[in-house]
Amino acid sequence: MVGQHHDEPGHGGHVISYGRYILIWFGLLALTGTTVALAGIDLGRWIIITALTIASIKSLLVLNIFMHLQFEARVFRVFVTVAALTLTIFIVLTFFDYAFY
C-alpha cells in the first residue's frame, strides 16, 4: 500500500500485563455483583438508569483496557464516540414520538 504509515507492530507494541487484565476483571465482577444486588432493591424508575450506568462503566473498562482503546490513536476514540452518539440519537429521536403527545 502507498501511504505515509510505516510498519507499526501494534500500538508501539504496547503490552498490557496479565496482572492488569486480572485487576480489571475483578472490577468487572464487582460491578456485576453490584448491579445484581441493586436489582433486589426497589428503586422504582431509577433502576433502569442505574443498570445502564453500571453496564456502561463495565463496557468502558472492556473498551479501554481489554480492547486497548485507551492506547490506540485518538481517531479510534473519535470513531467510537461517533458510533455511540449515532445510536443514542436514534433512540432519543424515536422517543420524541413515543414519550409525548
Binding site: M1, V2, G3, V82, L93, T94, F96, D97, Y101
Partner: protein, 548 residues
Amino acid sequence: MVNQHNTAPAAVPDFYHVETKRHGIWAWILSTDHKRIGLLYFATMMFFFAIAVLLGFLMRLEMLAPGKTIMEPQTYNTFFTLHGIIMIFLFIIPGLPAVFGNFMMPLMIGAKDVFFPRLNLLSWWLFLSGGLTVLVSVFLPGGPADTGWTFYVPYSVRTTTNVLPALVGAFLLGFSSILTGLNFVTTIHRMRAPGMSWFKMPLFIWAIYSTAWIQILATPIIGITLVLVLVERLFGLGIFDPTLGGDPVLYQHLFWIYSHPAVYIMILPGLGVASEILPVFARRTIFGYKFIAFSSLAIAFFGSLVWAHHMFTVGMSNTGMFVFSFLTFLVSIPSAIKVFNWIATLYKGSIVLEVPMLFILSMIIQFSIGGFTGLILGALAVNIHVTDTYFVVGHFHYVMFGGTGFALFAAMHYWFPKMFGRMYAKKPAVLSWLLATIGFNMLYFPFFFLGYLGMPRRYYDYLPEYQTYHIVATVGSWILVAGLVIMVSNLLVAIRRGTRAPSNPWGGRTLEWTVASPPPLENFLADPVVTTGPYDYSEFERVITEGK
C-alpha cells in the same frame, strides 16, 4: 500544473492487458483489483438498471389510461415493488460508490488499491447474490413481493407473495454496502499519498467518505429490521403484530432510520461528482472548498436526524412531528451551500460545454427542484395534503434520478476515457443528454401537479381528470428511454471503436489524470507526492484577472 506524468512507458501494460494468474471470466470475477471490481459492479448494475427501466416503462404504458391498459392490478403492484427494490438497492445505493468510488477513489488519493481488496471482491459477490435472490423471487410460486419496496407491516407479514427472498436479497445487499463503506473509510484514512492532507483531497473523496460513514452506521438498522420481519413471518414473535401488542409504526421508524440516510448515500457521491466536474469545465478552482467538504459531513449527520418526515400522517405525537419537520428544514442548508458554491465556481469561469458538464448542469437544476419540493413536503400542513401522492413520487425521482442518476451519467462521460482508454463520439452523447433531460422533465414534472390535485401514488386506476398529465408523462418516458438507449449504445460502441484517449483529455488536476488511460495494474509507477490542492487552475485565473 502537472509537471510530471506518471504515464507508463510502452512496456507497462494497462490493467486489462496485464498477465493474470487466471484466465477469461475468472480473471474478472475473482479479481481483487479495485478497477476490475468497479467494472464488475458497472456491468451488473447496468443489467439491473435495464430491468428496472423496463418495468418503469411498462408501468407508464399501463398508466396511459384509467383502468386496465396492459396488465392486471396485482401485476402492477409487483411491478412497482420490483422497480423500487431494484432501482434503490441494486442501482442507486451501490451506484456511484461501487463503480466510481471503487475505480477512482484509490487513484485520486494516490493509492494502488483499497485497504481490503479481498473484502472488496466479497462486497461484489454479495451484491450479485443479493440481486439474483431478488430476481429469483419473481419466478418462485407465490409471485414477486407486492408490498412496495418499503415492506410495511402488517401486510408484509401476511402477504403470501415471496417476501422472504426479497428480504434475504435486501439483507445481502446491505451487507455488501456495509463492507464497501468500511473499506473506503479505512482506505481514505490510511492510504493517502504523502502530502495529501485532508484538505488537499478532491471533494469527491470527501463525498465518498461521508457516504461510507452512513453506509456503516445506518445500514445495520435495516439489516435487523428486515430480519425482524423475516422472523415475524416464520415464528410470529409478535414484535410488529398489533394483535399481540406490536406497533406497526415502530417498524416504520426502524425502516426509515436507515432508508432516509440511504437517500444521502445515494445523493452525496453525486454531489461530489458535481464538485469534481465543475472546476475542470469552468477552468476555475472550486469556490468554497472547505464549505463543500464540511457540507458533505453535515449532510451525513443531519440526514440521520430526519427520518420520521416519511411518517407525518401515520399517527405520531405532535412533538415528534414538530421536531422532525424542523430538522428536515435544517438538512436543506448544507445542500444549498453546495449549490451556491457551484454557481460561484461557474461565475467568470471559462465554461466548456463538454458532455460531463451538460449532464451536471441538468443535474444541478433538477436536484434543486427536487430539493425545493422536499422542503414543501417537510412542511407539516402541506405534507398532510401531498403525502403518498404523486407529489412525493415526483420529488424523489427529481433528487434520485434527476440528481444522482444524471450525476452518474456525468461521471460515466467524465471518467470514461480513464476507465476504457477511449473517447466516445460527442454528438450522439449530446443528443442523448438532450433527450434525457427533456424526457426526464416531461415525465416527472407533471407528477407534482398530479399529486397536488390528489392522485395517490401506487394506484393502478385513476379518475379521468388526471389523464392528460399521465399521457404527457408517459410520452416523456419514451423520450427519456430513447435518450438512455442512445447514451448506452454510444458508450458501448466507444469501448470498442473509440479513438484512443490520452491520459488527461479534459485538463483535470486530480491524480487520476496523471496516469495512463486506462491505468496500469498498480496505478502509479512511483508514489505521487502532493503539494497543492486538487483544483489548481491558478494560471487560468491569472489570465482572467489580468485581462489578457
